[in-house]
């Protein structure tokens, strides 16, 4: 299996916080982005690959291909950053057998169907359920924007959100 040193949910993908914060702090050598829509969007993929730091590489895979790639052995000394836009993708990867121990939540912007979840994370009901499932599958989600800042345990926030969703479901 590839040496994934950080799995991060950030819908901006490669961004200042990643390039200036996480990449040097975790000594990342490769970035793998998993997103079906992005893999089918050459404009976005080219933009991502054009501007990554010169001393590293970036690949964009579909979920299906990512599992094959990530489960295979990687080169020696590789330190890989796995970037996804939504927890749903991570859950799909873990479901497919990728043994992730923890995942970092960075920034997920609000959009149609999403509600504020924790600090600058906004999630839809499906995404909260995905985080809950990840937690149950042994992949602990936590919030940390940049390496210099505090790491927050979000299990209570997941529990609260799940509880609210259950109540709303009952009331409906």
């Amino acid at each position: 299996m590839r040496n994934i040193v950080l799995a991060r949910v950030d819908d901006r993908l490669i961004h200042g916080e990643v390039v200036m914060g996480w990449v040097p702090a975790m000594r990342i050598t490769r970035i793998i982005i998993v997103d079906d829509a992005l893999a089918a969007n050459p404009f976005a993929t080219r933009a991502l690959q054009a501007l990554i730091p010169p001393d590293m590489k970036c690949y964009v895979y579909t979920e299906q291909k990512a599992v094959d790639r990530l489960m295979a052995d990687g080169p020696k000394g590789e330190r890989l950053l796995l970037l996804v836009k939504t927890p749903l993708t991570l859950q799909a990867l873990v479901q497919a057998g990728l043994p992730l121990k923890e995942c970092n939540l960075g920034c997920v912007g609000i959009d149609t169907g999403r509600r504020p979840f924790f600090k600058n994370i906004s999630l839809s009901g499906e995404e909260v359920q995905a985080l809950d499932a990840l937690q149950k599958q042994g992949c602990t989600p936590y919030y940390q924007l940049v390496p210099d800042q505090k790491r927050y345990d979000i299990s209570a926030a997941i529990g609260d959100a799940m509880g609210r969703m259950e109540e709303q479901g009952k009331s409906i």
Partner: protein, 618 residues
């Protein structure tokens, strides 16, 4: 006592710096060098304030606030440092209290990011109800007033505390200052010369130990900045470069090499995992993940997503090069020019002035992005309120990028909206223009953010700041450093921002992408790195200060170079060599042993204080 006028002026300055009004204050007034000097001017000690700000700037050179993160409130640190120097503290002794104030001040940024969410939602509600120009209130005016309401009392409180810590009042045992004195007597009794516990000695020891603890920190700051600008290549990358060179020599040679070293080739030559070369001229379509011809696409990577609800509508159907069905032909200026130049300039200026004022946790810059379209919508959809509302709603969606380097995105958006208004069917991928607009802005915002943050915060600003700090350390030029730095950064910010905006407006999405792929900014970074290295050497010599008892308290001349020179010209060289050696050791610790900045700083502080304490006892 500081007067209310001084407190008010410092509060306004802190507000402009904290709220980024205009945005360039993030690079200028928020830097301790500039706000330390400005606060020093207001409080009557410009030279000492600039000096303290310069020391703080060198220490914090390697700390950056990428994206929405804020590690330390630089402006509050600068103002506190200047206020302490105005209260009689030596610049080095004021550094640690200023850093503590800055660390506490970062919560103000977090508070604003959270409270601004309320205003951002108001903008969305207004747009949904069909109000357009009214969004200026919740998008700009109210967040600015909120920032003023927060910054004025915080700055006043910081100045009041500094007032209580005035050296003459501490030395005369002014009652409010007594707890501080007693605390220091308890914490650092060893630093008190000869065990004398009178208050004057305690205050002197307090300054001495604080200055000693801060004196070595500039070495860590310079080391962090250098290692950030020179990330270096890992072992894997060096080997990859070798492999790439072999690939260029041809397929036969590859096979020959693989036979020589099969393990290595198996490890690296994966046809699906080849990267885009740094130089676009060397780009080989076989080596990229993006096929030039859609027919050749790898079905694994182009199949429609399994769950269409979870993905966007961006399914490519056409060539991704220069051809389009209508609208802007690639490589040429787009067809319609619906928006007059004055409105475009107004839009670009709105972007550069107010982009951070309503920065918030939910929509980031989305609301101000919509504001930048206010001068454009009446030209894009004249008399069509519904059309104007649709544009503003589309542009107010979640958005976050770098102000100057990412200014090409609002420019490009203006151009794409023009095409949409002129009836274009598609521009880039064959999808509807509305979808393409969202796709392009989302695709570019992160990468432009990364590019801008790297160029500005890792290269341009550290190099210019170091040059300005060096000027500040030269006695007759103490005010020249912050003034010249502010002028230079303001010109650069507006020049890059406006150029980027209009380049984005004049080009097509694909041409903009090709321009970005040329990596011109990497060459600029390489040039700036040379200056960063050049300035680092004298900065280390001037600002690293070794804990020599008797020289530190009350002294305002920075640097081991001058301190050691008190022993005569022969003493200068060892002091300079020691400062450079310490900086080199810090670089080694970061590069080789991967030390984090905070641990390195802690160690340097403890080392400085310990050496000062030990020598003080001797």
């Amino acid at each position: 006592m500081f007067t209310w006028q001084q407190i008010l002026l410092c509060g306004i300055m802190y507000w402009l710096a904290e709220a980024n009004l205009p945005f360039v204050t993030l690079w200028t007034l928020q830097k301790p060098l500039v706000c330390g000097w400005a606060a020093g001017m207001i409080l009557g000690a410009p030279a000492a304030g600039a000096l303290c700000g310069a020391v703080l700037s060198v220490i914090l050179l390697g700390f950056s606030s990428a994206g929405s993160s804020m590690t330390i409130d630089l402006s509050l640190a600068g103002i506190t440092g200047a206020a302490l120097t105005a209260a009689g503290w030596s610049p080095y002794a004021a550094v640690l209290p200023a850093l503590m104030a800055g660390a506490a001040g970062r919560h103000i940024w977090k508070l604003r990011m959270q409270v601004n969410v309320f205003f951002a939602r108001q903008v969305r509600h207004m747009l949904e109800r069909g109000k357009t120009t009214e969004i200026l209130l919740p998008a700009i005016l109210f967040p600015a007033l909120l920032a003023l309401a927060i910054c004025l009392p915080v700055s006043a409180a910081a100045l009041r505390i500094c007032d209580l810590l005035r050296i003459p009042e501490l030395q005369s045992g002014h009652p409010p200052a007594l707890p501080v004195i007693r605390l220091l007597q308890a914490v650092a009794p060893g630093a008190m010369a000869g065990g004398n516990d009178n208050i004057v000695t305690a205050v002197s020891s307090l300054q001495g130990i604080l200055a000693a603890a801060a004196g070595l920190l500039p070495a860590g700051g310079i080391a962090l900045a250098l290692t950030a600008a020179f990330p270096g290549r890992g072992r894997e990358d060096r080997r990859d470069r070798k492999i790439r060179a072999r690939l260029r020599r041809g397929a036969e040679q590859i096979h020959a090499d693989a036979e020589e070293d099969p393990d290595e080739m198996d490890e690296y030559v994966d046809p699906d995992e080849t990267d885009v070369p740094t130089d676009p001229d060397e780009m080989d379509p076989d080596e990229t993940d993006i096929p030039a011809d859609p027919d050749e696409m790898d079905p694994d990577e182009t199949d429609a997503p399994a769950d269409p609800d979870r993905t966007g509508p961006d399914t490519p159907e056409t060539d991704y090069g220069n051809t389009r069905t209508c609208g802007m032909p690639g490589g040429e200026k787009k067809s319609p020019e619906l928006v007059p130049r004055t409105s475009l300039v107004a839009s670009a200026l709105l972007w550069l002035l107010f982009i951070h004022i309503c920065y918030n946790n939910e929509w980031m810059m989305g609301q101000v992005m919509a504001v930048t379209f206010l001068p454009l919508v009446r030209h894009l959809c004249p008399g069509d309120r519904e059309g104007q509302r649709a544009i503003l709603l589309r542009q107010s969606r979640y958005f976050n990028t770098h102000c100057e380097c990412g200014a090409c995105i609002p420019g490009l958006m203006a151009s794409m909206e023009e095409n949409l208004a002129a009836g274009a069917d598609t521009i880039v991928t064959g999808n509807a223009v509305e979808q393409e607009i969202l796709m392009v802005r989302t695709s570019l915002m992160g990468v432009c953010g990364a590019m801008g943050d790297t160029l500005f915060q890792k290269h341009l600003i550290p190099a210019l700041l170091l040059a300005a700090c060096l000027l500040t350390a030269v006695r007759p030029l103490q005010s020249a450093g912050p003034i010249l730095y502010t002028i230079a950064m303001t010109i650069l910010s507006f020049l890059i921002g406006l150029t980027s905006y209009f380049d984005g407006y004049r080009t097509t999405p694909m041409n903009l992408l090709k321009t970005l792929e040329k990596n011109t900014f990497r060459r600029a970074e390489a040039g700036i790195r040379i200056f960063l290295c050049l300035f680092s050497v004298p900065a280390a010599v001037l600002f690293v200060r070794f804990p020599i008892p008797g020289m530190i308290p009350g002294a305002d001349i920075p640097g081991s170079f001058f301190v050691v020179s008190a022993a005569g010209p022969a003493g200068r060289l060892p002091g300079a060599a020691a400062a450079l050696a310490l900086t080199a050791a810090c670089v080694l610790c970061i590069k080789k042993f991967h030390w984090r900045g905070r641990y390195l700083f802690l160690l340097l502080m403890l080392a400085g204080a310990a050496v000062y304490g030990i020598i003080g006892r001797m």
